[in-house]
């Protein structure tokens, strides 16, 4: 038989089909949506961190040209319920617009509706708010003692979550705790390393800020809402809920979404307010976040302190690990705020077989922007704490950091592996990834280069980090929204393929990868496949894109739907060709009998027959459109090893990243080019956290990093040429064997760079440096005194 003309596309480096329109400015984002009669909203935001609203004077704003309405928080509260929370933890009431007390700079206190965006903003500036200011609660470890004050009346000592234990000896409900095993591990240890580490606050800074357009149509009693969101179906659910409407009455559209990084999972107050005002006023209404607002009003990420203790024998076997976590969650619980640090607990095992682990988690309210999911969401924090702890242990023992890891890995023959933390790792071969990374980096040679540089007086250091993360979220038991995904595949009458996915992309490239899968499944050109997404009016059901789930869960749903259509199409083809369906081959745009390609029909001919089925084969309905839900039985657990080489400038403390070698194992890859793009972006953000990114607040709760003039994010020129490679350990959790890769880059890069910096400065007696690695901090270590 002749080889097929069309190449199999899965596994190929197909260029993103999305990019030509995006880089030519031909994409349609929320702010590009224009509707006749569109009005514009602007929010008046608190400029104090903590205070009671004494009065709000809206008279001047209401009198301004173009202003149609001004609503205070109290007025909004008359028709809009508090914001829903997606976690089981007790949460304080959170109004989309504050009614009496403001709790962070940037919290909305009033909203203006005007004919134009500029008029709306002018009017918001004209609103005068008088605050009775209160002390700002800024330091979470002080806040835990109730000082300087309490932010939410029902939460003593500002404790959002007082203390949750997890790990060895803790019952599944957390109610009983047996310390025996953990105490014994520490008592038996030859060596214990202990360190307080800060995983600092970050701003997600998607290229496209948030935005929303709501259009309530009174005649139809329906609402269409466009939003820059990662999950339009979840948005639809909540917008319907808070407007007292049915989900059938609400259509949510995520058009092009210019990045999310987890920050656009949330349903924000602005979305609820704009939707409810559109309905109340009977007008289409738009709000577009500006960059200044984005730094204040879009959730922040990370901001968690870890007290880690690692107990080990002198030959490097880890016996026990303790990790006490204190998360600064900011002023309120958003949709998933309270749950994110629990993922840090979940992943405390990291890649290691550790006999006894105890973690505890305390979450604390402060007068800052709320935190929530940011790329990695809990797993980079766990990786950072444990990998820094392992690095400190290696240094204490005088052991090669790679060798220490190797001695403690969960062996490849122990998967699936139930961890002390309650996770079941699906598959893994950590030593393989480590070995590949060591080989690619030339670890011994790098050590030699480092030592040679040091002999010249240069401050060169090496860092290594392993990671394992939890992806492919996840069974419905773990997500209040449900953890499945949905797809529908339709063969159109002309033989073209349309497929919908609920995994709404915002940079993941699903239009390309999903089309590759279907093109292979049906033996048609990529150009004949279109992937539709981001519109609940088109995509029947879905959850959304977060937790590196779109390929593992959404891709599998697509595969299952495609399989159903293919089976049905084969039946039609079998009838046309008078053949058995199991003998049919889908190849090169034709369906033919195996061994007799000339006797086949074109794909389009079979499609046409399915829609005008004369005669209709027995037992078949017309048409070729099938859907599938996929509920994974477990999460997936991708892993990898990152290695970096850095040099610190002795005179200035500036840190240069010389090498970054990454080996990532995300299971089977649909498109290595897109995977590498995802890893590049994740690495950049992980490197950013290590080196240049940090949200800062003053003692008065005022943000000090409110623009890109003060908040640095990595630019291409700041980054070295990444040296990437992959090992492939498929997951048994889904038929694709794909694990997910969207967040992986943020996990290993951060600790490996900090460890490299510590290595570079080890001659000065330093064993740990908190991020970010500001030059002044490193300079102080070099020139006397600690950071």
């Amino acid at each position: 038989m002749a080889a097929p003309v069309l190449p199999k596309l899965v596994g190929q480096r197909v260029k993103r089909r999305e990019d030509p329109r995006l880089i030519q400015g031909l994409g349609t984002y929320v702010d590009d949506v224009k509707i006749v009669g569109l009005r514009h909203a602007a929010f008046k935001r608190s400029d104090v961190a903590h205070g009671r609203i004494r009065s709000i004077d809206t008279a001047a704003a209401e009198a301004m040209d173009g202003v149609e309405a001004v609503f205070t928080g109290a007025q909004i509260a008359e028709f809009l319920d508090p914001m829903p929370i997606g976690t089981p933890f007790p949460s304080p009431e959170h109004r989309a617009v504050a009614t009496d007390v403001v709790r962070y700079v940037g919290e909305p206190v009033a909203v203006v509706v005007a004919a134009g965006r500029y008029a709306a903003r002018d009017a918001a500036d004209a609103i005068v708010v008088d605050y009775d200011t209160r002390p700002a609660v800024v330091d979470p470890e002080v806040a835990m003692t109730g000082h300087p004050t309490v932010i939410h009346a029902d939460f003593d000592n500002n404790l959002a979550v007082p203390l949750v234990p997890s790990g060895t000896g803790v019952s599944p409900d957390g109610k009983t705790v047996d310390d025996t095993a953990v105490d014994r591990a520490f008592a038996d240890a030859d060596v214990v390393v202990s360190q307080r580490m800060v995983n600092q606050r970050l701003a997600p800074t998607a290229m496209e800020p948030r935005g929303v357009v709501a259009h309530y149509e009174r005649g139809k009693d329906t609402m269409t809402i466009w939003s820059s969101t990662q999950n339009p179906h979840i948005l639809r659910t909540f917008i319907a809920l808070l407007n007292g409407m049915g989900e059938d009455q609400v259509r949510a559209i995520a058009p092009e979404v210019g990045g999310g990084f987890g920050a656009k999972i949330n349903i924000y107050g602005e979305e609820y307010v704009v939707a409810s005002l559109s309905r109340r006023l009977g007008l289409p209404l738009k709000w577009t976040e500006d960059r200044s607002e984005a730094f204040l009003a879009t959730i922040h990420g990370r901001d968690i302190i870890g007290y880690i203790d690692v107990a080990a024998t002198r030959d490097g076997k880890v016996l026990g690990l303790k990790l006490r976590l204190i998360a600064d969650v900011g002023a309120y619980n958003m949709l998933l705020t309270a749950a994110i640090p629990t993922l840090t607990m979940l992943m405390a095992n990291a890649t290691y077989d550790i006999p006894a682990i105890r973690t505890t988690l305390t979450e604390v309210f402060t007068n800052k922007t709320p935190t929530d999911a940011y790329r990695g969401a809990g797993r980079p924090e766990a990786t950072y704490f444990v990998e820094r702890g392992m690095d400190m242990l290696a240094r204490r023992l005088g052991m090669d950091p790679a060798e220490l890891r190797r001695r403690n890995f969960i062996p490849a023959d122990r998967f699936p592996y139930a961890t002390q933390m309650g996770a079941v790792y699906d598959s893994g071969d950590y030593a393989k990834a480590l070995d590949r990374a060591l080989a690619n980096a030339g670890w011994r040679e790098l050590q030699r280069q480092r030592d040679a540089a040091r002999a010249e007086g240069r401050l060169v250091g090496l860092g290594l980090a392993m990671y394992v993360e939890v992806c492919g979220l996840g069974p419905s038991a773990s997500l209040p929204t449900g953890g499945w995904e949905h797809a529908q595949v339709t063969i159109e009458r002309d033989g073209r393929i349309s497929a919908t996915t609920g995994a709404s992309p915002h940079g993941q490239g699903n239009e390309t990868t999903f089309a590759q899968m279907l093109a292979d499944q049906f033996g048609v050109p990529l150009e004949h496949v279109r992937i539709l997404h981001g519109d609940t009016g088109v995509v029947k059901q879905g959850i959304g894109t977060f937790g590196s789930r779109s390929q593992a869960v959404g891709g599998t749903a697509l595969h299952l739907a495609g399989t159903k259509v293919r089976e049905k199409m084969a039946k039609f083809a079998a009838a046309l060709l008078e053949a058995h369906e199991e003998d049919l081959v889908f190849e090169d745009g034709r369906i033919s009998v195996q061994g007799a390609p000339d006797a086949g029909k074109t794909f389009a001919e079979v499609a046409a027959y399915a829609y005008v089925p004369v005669p209709l084969p027995a037992g078949l309905d017309p048409g070729l459109s099938e859907e599938a839900f996929f509920e994974p039985a477990n999460n997936t657990y991708p892993f990898g090893c990152h290695i970096s080489m850095v040099e610190v400038d002795r005179d200035t403390g500036e840190l240069a990243l010389l090498r970054l070698v990454a080996v990532d194992d995300a299971g089977n890859l649909i498109n290595p080019l897109i995977v590498e793009g995802q890893i590049h972006g994740g690495l950049a953000q992980g490197i950013g956290q290590a080196m240049i990114e940090e949200v800062r607040y003053g003692a008065d709760g005022q943000p000090l990093t409110g623009s890109f003039m003060d908040y640095a994010i990595p630019r291409a020129a700041d980054l070295p040429r990444f040296e990437l490679d992959a090992t492939v350990t498929p997951t048994p959790v889904n038929p694709l064997g794909a694990k997910g890769v969207g967040e992986a880059g943020t996990l290993g890069s951060t600790p490996c760079i900090v460890s490299a910096a510590v290595d570079a400065l080890s001659g000065f007696g330093v064993t740990h440096i908190d991020m970010m690695l500001r030059p002044e901090k490193l300079w102080r270590i070099i020139h006397g005194g600690q950071a």
């Binding site: 002018d122 500006d290 623009s707 003039m709 994010i713 030059p775 002044e776 300079w779 102080r780």
Partner: protein, 289 residues
């Protein structure tokens, strides 16, 4: 990020710009590249009633060699300065300074005159203009005047320029033996500390040194103590390093912010003075026959 309302006018000549400025009373503001002004307007920290655009006035742009000196029009963008063959050949320090400003977008819009008039304490050009003993050419209702860079930069965002005047050009005597070195603030790419050094070297001896400092204080200044210490010294790397090592020690009221504390900035003055001097010295050696 949404400015308040303003009028916009485009001036066709310097005289036209001055007339429009006068007509607006105090409410008019000149704009060229807008890379200092527009961000302030977006944050509503500056709310001019009218913008008078001088970016396209032909006589304000361009780099000209004249009578042994070089004149750069005030509306010349940083990119043009950074890539000028004339400047790279005869006065590389100013091209080098321009190349460190912001990013390509900023360098293709921001102008020399705008940067100098705004006088951000961390901006790069002032250090170099001080080291070059540049003159700022100014035109106003009363005619033209010239101010030495040394007298021009007076305080935080404060320069010797009246509200009804505009900068037409910057003029200096070119030298090859000068260099600029800076410690970048990683977010803005402004200078945490920037030092420009210009050396007159004769027969292996430094006859005169001029050092301009930016980033460390409320405004750019000359490092006169270092200059005095260098005069008459041998033109060697060790010599300039020793003279500049403690360049920051005598400075008072050193800036401190989230990016760098005062002690660190003070130490960096010495580091970057040394780096600028060594680079200038290297240029003096390559230009020697």
């Amino acid at each position: 990020m949404i400015p308040s309302a303003f009028d916009y006018e485009r001036a066709t000549s310097v005289d036209d710009a001055l007339a429009r400025l006068a007509a607006r009373g105090g409410a008019g503001k000149l704009i060229a590249g807008g890379h200092s002004l527009v961000p302030l307007m977006k944050l509503r920290l500056n709310e001019p009633g009218a913008l008078i655009d001088i970016a396209r006035i032909p006589e304000l742009s361009g780099i000209r060699g004249q009578d042994g000196g070089i004149e750069i029009g005030a509306a010349t963008v940083h990119h043009a300065v950074a890539t000028s063959d004339l400047l790279r050949a005869r006065c590389p320090v100013i091209a080098e300074t321009a190349a460190t400003i912001g990013d390509p977008q900023v360098r293709n819009r921001g102008t020399l005159g705008g940067s100098v008039a705004h006088a951000d304490p961390a901006s790069d050009y002032p250090a170099t203009l001080l080291a070059l003993d540049a003159e700022i050419r100014i035109q106003g209702p009363g005619g033209t005047r010239t101010v030495a860079a040394r007298d021009f930069f007076q305080d935080l965002f404060t320069v010797d320029l009246a509200g009804d005047e505009l900068i037409t050009a910057v003029r200096f005597t070119p030298t090859r033996t000068a260099a600029y070195a800076k410690l970048y603030q990683r977010a803005s790419r402004f200078a945490i500390v920037g030092v420009a050094a210009a050396l007159d070297v004769d027969g292996g001896t430094i006859r005169r040194a001029r050092l301009g400092l930016t980033g460390a204080l409320s405004h750019a200044v000359r490092l006169t103590a270092v200059e005095d210490a260098l005069a008459g010294r041998p033109a060697t790397a060790d010599g300039v390093a020793a003279a500049a090592a403690r360049a920051g020690d005598g400075l008072n009221d050193v800036n401190a912010d989230i990016h760098a504390g005062a002690d660190y900035r003070r130490a960096m003055v010495g580091v970057f003075a040394q780096r600028a001097l060594k680079a200038a010295l290297a240029r003096s050696q390559e230009s020697a026959p």
